[in-house]
Amino acid sequence: MAAENELELKNKSSVEKPGENEVMETALLAGHILLENGAEISRVEETFDRICAHYGVRSGNAFVLSNGIFTTVGDDRERYYAKVQHIPVSAARFHRVAAVNQLSREMETGKYTVGELREALERVKTMPGKRNITQIAASGIGSAAFCLLFGGDIHDAAAAFAVGLVLYIYILYVSAPHLTKIVGNIGGGALVTLLCGVFYLNGFGSRMDYMIIGSVMPMIPGVAFTNGIMDIASCDYIAGSVRLLDAMLVFFGIAIGMGMAFTLLNAFGGGALL
């Protein structure tokens, strides 16, 4: 009976078992999409292991950092294969994280062959996000809402709305494609402060602090900060510290930009601000 089972297993595996390489490529692709779009390290590793296990690759291993994945497979039964992939950190696009998560759940129910899963992942990888115009509008509305939340009045919120729009145009068309992260954030902090200062000096809005705090919110590194904490909580210290360092640099960049703009406004605004 046992021998029969084993034979059946053997037959089954020779028919259905996909090559290690293909499974690894698919698992790596899933990991790549997750990491690139703002998932935690533990989720990347877990998804990788699940895909390997589901398609019968036992010796698959992944080491995940905040900007790269190292994978190997191979033992006396499975062929050796290794790949290192560098994954630059980009903006969070949670719809892709959710989609990979969904695919991984569906895979567990046996819905996909490895080839189908890979095709589905390829589609997720290029899944379009929100249009730029929507993002700019969201930034404006978010800025206005946070300005009101922190105590601003309706005029402050109107100014924060306008500044939030301009800030996101700057982020999408100037900072992200052309500037390094540090300079981009200094520029963003300065831009927000200067624009709010101009509004305030011309008598629009009553509290400059609320305007600035509201409209700087779209730059706050919430994803890097929260993911860094989550990584440290699950003992992924290297990735966690890199992400927290990233968040700190953004904070400092914004603060430096604000400081520079304050100094400028003070010099050219007749000392009305400081």
Binding site: G38, A39, E40, R43, A91, A92, R93, F94, H95, R96, V97, A98, N101, Q102, R105, G129, K130, T134, Q135, A138, S139, I141, G142, A145, F146, L148, L149, F150, D209, I212, I213, V216, M217, P218, I220, G222, V223, T226, N227, I229, M230, A233, S234, F251, I254, A255, I256, M258, G259, F262, T263, L274
Partner: protein, 145 residues
């Protein structure tokens, strides 16, 4: 009390706007907004009695717990709800005043506000840690219905 209701409303709108910036799928907007609003509600109710960092700690714990419940219900990662939901609690004012005081050479005040902001940030971190430790099956109980 009316002030609190309006503030919660602003927090909901702000959270939804930011979940859009992070490309959260549309079907989760409502949960994101409600979680952000709930976090701020807890914060503003506790702020009366507790120091800001204490209020932020409990508000964060509520945000993370609700996010994990929403994740079980929506069958998706909890971070999708957590990250936008935490935004209203971020000590943005602290960063602003710290850099303001540094520029105006009021270093004592800068240190004080900077320290306050760091305390709130640490409270948020602890809030995440504490609820992170709760086993997943607890949230699965809530998710069943």
């Amino acid at each position: 009390m009316t002030a609190v209701i309006f503030e919660v409303l602003y927090a909901v709108v702000g959270t939804v706007a930011f979940s859009l910036l992070f490309s959260v799928p549309r079907r989760y907007y409502v949960s994101c907004g409600l979680i952000g609003g709930a976090g701020w509600l807890v914060y503003s109710l506790l702020e009366v009695k507790l120091p800001p960092e204490g209020a932020a700690l409990f508000a964060t714990m509520v945000v993370i717990a609700l996010s994990r419940i929403a994740a079980v219900k929506g069958k998706c990662p909890a971070t999708i709800f957590m990250i936008p939901g935490i935004f209203p609690l971020i000590p943005g004012a602290g960063v602003y005043w710290t850099s303001y005081y540094i520029v105006t050479e009021q270093l004592t005040l800068a240190l004080q506000t900077g320290y306050e902001a760091v305390k709130t940030a640490v409270a948020i971190v602890l809030g995440i840690f504490f609820v992170f430790e709760v086993p997943q099956r607890v949230f699965k109980l809530f998710g069943k219905d």
